[in-house]
């Protein structure tokens, strides 16, 4: 019923006549008749109003929690109102990749600004225009160092399991042997890493803070990687990195991460944003789009896609990656978010995450049967034990509109952000107390 085709039936007839055919079917002469479909088995079209009702009803089959204490790769943060206002502008939403630079300066400049902000966050020299998400950014980073003489790559077991699985999938395809470094006490087992890191290893991947929220001795991991002749890749949280040492300060060669906390809604897992940054000597290995500054023929400052000799549309099978698009609108979202927050605002956000998580951890661990599973310092996530079955606790929390922490191994991975007020936290703690009493 809905149709976005402007031409009228009369106009279509005129057009067919200009082409010199009688019917729309005549345009498909090249398609062998035997192969043609009789009829699509789909519902008939509906009006816009009907579709809105159907989709709204569908959305209401989901439960929206009023308080979220779960992260594990997707984080509930405040999104300033200006973010949506800017990112819904029709030009930004509907344009294609900025191939025609003369009429795409808006998008190109916004990406240049994004690249600058990612460099500032991570301390690295060069950022690309973004990739699909944090997990694929991690995989692309490992692939940057594919080397016949160094067939192995190491990844810490304290990395988010979804990231490990994604890196594994890419590596298997590409012929890189990915080996998982064991953990001890919730962090990378340094002794094991020292044994495993040898001259056959092309790169080492770790996550800071790690999957369990713990801030690892990333300096040490970097030193071990480099002394084995391997490159050092860090996956970082873009909010945490504003108050914790930067990947550059830790000595990383590549910094990647999930950009979702920078203004993207939880949205059942996507679209999110993968950021990737590296040092000058390595930048030509970066996959994806990169925007550079240049001048036009009149000497005006302008921006353009550059270093394209790395890319699939030029290099085809010799390209550094098959990636074609970036997540431009998500990169724009991140830029507007960082601009609205400012350096002080984003650090305040990070400090509130840190402080509220510590307040929550302390309060939960005052309840009998709950204790911290690991001793390492943490950012906004931490793992506690749980004296009862986690699903029973989660179900009770759900009744009160609270999404509790994520059950991992035999504990619970909690996440607390600036979105969780003290009142919310206190309610959470009192419900846990109540449920676990008997």
């Amino acid at each position: 019923m809905g149709s976005y085709i402007p031409s009228t039936l009369a106009e279509r007839k005129e057009m067919l006549a200009s082409i010199g055919v009688n019917s729309l079917d005549d345009l498909y002469v090249q398609v062998p008749a035997a192969m043609k479909l009789k009829k699509l088995d789909l519902p008939v079209g509906k009006s816009e109003l009907e579709v809105v009702n159907i989709m709204e009803e569908l959305s209401l089959k989901n439960k929206v929690f009023s308080a979220i204490f779960r992260g594990a790769g997707a984080y509930n943060h405040y999104i300033p109102a200006i973010v949506k206002s800017v990112t819904s502008k029709e030009e930004f939403v509907t344009a294609y990749t900025p191939y025609q630079a003369e009429i795409s300066q808006g998008i190109l400049q916004s990406i240049f600004e994004y690249q600058t902000m990612i460099c500032e966050l991570t301390g690295m020299d060069v950022s690309n225009a973004s990739v699909y998400d944090g997990a694929s950014a991690a995989a692309e980073a490992v692939l940057m160092f594919k080397d016949k003489k160094k067939p192995k790559a190491l990844i810490s077991g304290s990395v988010n399991p979804m990231v490990i699985r994604t890196v594994q999938t890419y590596c298997k395809g590409s012929g890189i042997e990915l080996v998982v470094v064991p953990t001890t006490g919730g962090v990378t087992d340094i002794e094991a890493l020292e044994k495993m890191a040898d001259s056959t290893v092309s790169c080492v991947y770790m996550q800071q803070p790690n999957y369990y929220g713990i801030i690892e001795d990333a300096e040490k991991i970097g030193e071990i990687s480099h002394s084995a002749g391997a490159k050092y890749i860090m996956g970082v949280n873009p909010i945490a990195v504003t108050i914790i040492k930067t990947p550059a300060e830790y000595g990383a060669d590549v910094a990647v991460g999930e950009g979702q906390p920078l203004g993207m809604p939880l949205a059942f897992g996507g679209p999110y944003l993968g950021f990737m940054a590296t040092t000058k000597p390595i930048m030509r290995k970066l996959p994806g789009r990169i925007v550079g500054e240049t001048k036009d023929v009149d000497g005006k400052r302008a921006y353009v896609l550059t270093l394209q000799a790395r890319e699939q549309h030029i290099r085809r099978e010799k390209a550094s990656s098959n990636i074609c698009s970036n997540q431009a609108l998500c990169a724009l979202t991140a830029s507007v978010f960082m601009t609205a927050m400012g350096a002080d605002g984003i650090k305040e956000m990070a400090n509130q995450c840190l402080s509220k998580a510590h307040y929550t951890a302390k309060s939960i661990c005052e309840i009998k049967g709950f204790e911290m599973k690991f001793s390492g310092e943490f950012f906004h996530e931490f793992v506690t034990t749980c004296p009862i079955k986690t699903n029973i606790l989660m179900a009770e929390l759900e009744k009160k509109g609270i999404l509790g922490g994520y059950p991992v191994d035999d504990g619970i991975l909690w996440c607390v952000t600036e979105m969780n007020s003290k009142a919310q936290i206190d309610t959470l703690v009192s419900i846990i107390k109540e449920v676990c009493k008997g």
Binding site: S18, Q109, G173, P271, E293
Partner: protein, 476 residues
């Protein structure tokens, strides 16, 4: 214009967060950040105006005709955006328990059902975030399929010389060697050459049909059979699906695995380069190899299933969910009849433009085309010195986004037009008139063409300089 950093003033900012209501906690100095963090210090009004200035320097679909070949720049219905903004979609944590995300799962399940029907496939994953990401997924599934049969000698993927650059690049990411099969005089796969290339080292073929010169390869059943007979699988690059929806299905052409671009064919916007969505559909025998988190219905409710021989994961979670929401909204809206009508009118519009231009311009592989066609300006360039690039730049001054330039590689001085179904007859007429007048003007105004564009926010750029003198960020 200035960068946002150049508009920054110390002390300016926006007020967003409340004061912390818990005691502040401090990290040990040994792990705190020492490097200064420079982000813009601007008021909200500065942000609003900055980006408004930027959109004035951006050509969107709302600004005018966008016949960018191979990219299907069709109109993006606004209701899609509204639906994707519903709080009960946006505020859902991806790791909520299954019973609390039944709506999201039903979106994915319904999208799978409808897109499988359109493509002729049995099963679908929504994890891939873009077309190229879908290609990688499909390639890894093909690899896993052969290896699961203990067949490790299949190291080659066959790709036509006219293919998108992502095809060979994706094959490389699966550690395959790409073998290029030449096109024949009609712009289609050279069947005899294909026969010579296949063997027991053939893992598969990657093909788009209609192909990149806008021709439906009528030998498609023979092509896919040659690959199957050699023990390989057929991968359908869905970039050109907008020509044939409701008319013919990749599954009925002999393809085993396909990706679709929801951001092309199913009207979700391109966002200046993303986010897109590149779901991969496959025949039943390949379903065990799909990425993790396949939505299935069991006893009236939805849950995630783990395909038994899964290739793993190509990203975190389940794909670009909100993009899938938009595509489903579109399918429900236009329905079975609208899907067919969309393809028919995409083909009608392309043929109408082609017919009107063919008296003046050289159409590569002339004849009835599908949803796009390619013109070659080789002759024009030889006679006048005006190249495809010059014509494209001249179009910029006239408010039309140029067609895709210099692709496919097998056509010299190529311009590839894909008008899509959502353009009116008068838009096409205006574009044709303009192109005809440009052809006329090119005959004795070479220099004027080299100067174009004159009226865009910036003029031709020094791309060589950009790559030589790399400035990839603003320095504070």
């Amino acid at each position: 214009m200035n960068l946002i950093f150049e508009k920054s003033r110390t002390g300016r900012g926006c007020s967003i967060l409340p004061k912390s209501d818990v005691p502040m906690y401090s990290l040990d100095d040994k792990i705190t950040r020492k490097t200064e963090l420079h982000l813009p210090q601007v008021a909200e009004v500065d942000i609003s105006r900055h980006y408004t200035q930027l959109i004035k320097r951006t050509h969107g679909l709302n600004n005018g005709f966008y016949p960018l070949g191979s990219c299907t720049m069709k109109y993006n219905p606004k209701v899609n955006e509204e639906i994707a903004s519903l709080p009960a979609f946006k505020k859902i944590h991806p790791l909520q328990p299954a019973h609390s995300v039944q709506g999201c799962m039903e979106v994915i399940a319904n999208a799978e059902k409808y897109l499988c029907e359109i493509s002729g496939m049995d099963s679908m994953t929504f994890q891939p975030a873009a077309g190229a990401h879908g290609e990688l997924t499909g390639i890894l599934m093909i690899k896993a399929y052969h290896e699961a049969r203990g067949d490790f000698k299949r190291t080659k993927i066959i790709v036509p010389d006219a293919a998108h650059g992502t095809n060979p690049a994706s094959a490389t990411m699966g550690n395959f060697t790409t073998v290029s099969v030449p096109s024949n005089a009609e712009g289609c796969v050279d069947i005899e050459k294909l026969r010579e290339l296949v063997g027991d080292d053939t893992a598969g073929l990657m093909l788009t049909n209609p192909n990149t010169v806008g021709i439906f390869d009528k030998n498609i059943l023979e092509i896919t059979k040659i690959i199957h007979d050699a023990g390989g699988l057929n991968y359908y690059d869905g970039a050109n699906l907008n020509a044939v929806m409701g008319v013919v299905r990749p599954g009925d052409m002999g393809f085993d695995v396909v990706h679709m671009n929801l951001h092309k064919t199913f009207s979700t916007p391109h966002g200046g380069g993303g986010p897109g969505s590149g779901p991969v559909g496959c025949k039943k025998f390949l379903a065990p190899f799909m990425p993790v988190y396949h939505v299935v219905e069991r006893d009236g409710s939805y849950d995630f299933d783990m395909p038994v021989q899964t290739i793993g994961s190509v990203k975190a979670f389940y794909g670009n969910f909100l993009v899938v929401v938009k595509a489903l909204t579109y399918i429900l809206n236009i329905g079975a009849e609208g899907i067919l009508e969309a393809s028919q009118n995409a083909v009608l519009n392309a043929n109408y433009m082609r017919a009107l231009l063919s008296k003046t311009y050289d159409i590569a592989f002339d004849g009835i085309c599908m949803h796009e066609f390619v013109i070659s300006l080789e002759g024009l360039k030889k006679n006048t010195g005006v190249s495809a690039l010059d014509v494209a730049k001249m179009l910029l001054d006239r408010g039309i986004h140029p067609p895709t330039m210099y692709f496919p590689l097998i056509v010299h001085e190529a311009l590839m037009f894909e008008p899509t179904e959502t353009e009116s007859k008068e838009t096409l007429d205006e574009a044709v008139d303009l192109l005809l007048s440009i052809y006329e003007a090119a005959q004795n105004n070479e220099e004027q063409f080299h100067q174009a564009p004159l009226h865009t926010p910036v003029r031709r750029l020094d791309e060589v300089g950009a790559a030589r003198n790399l400035v990839l960020r603003y320095q504070f």
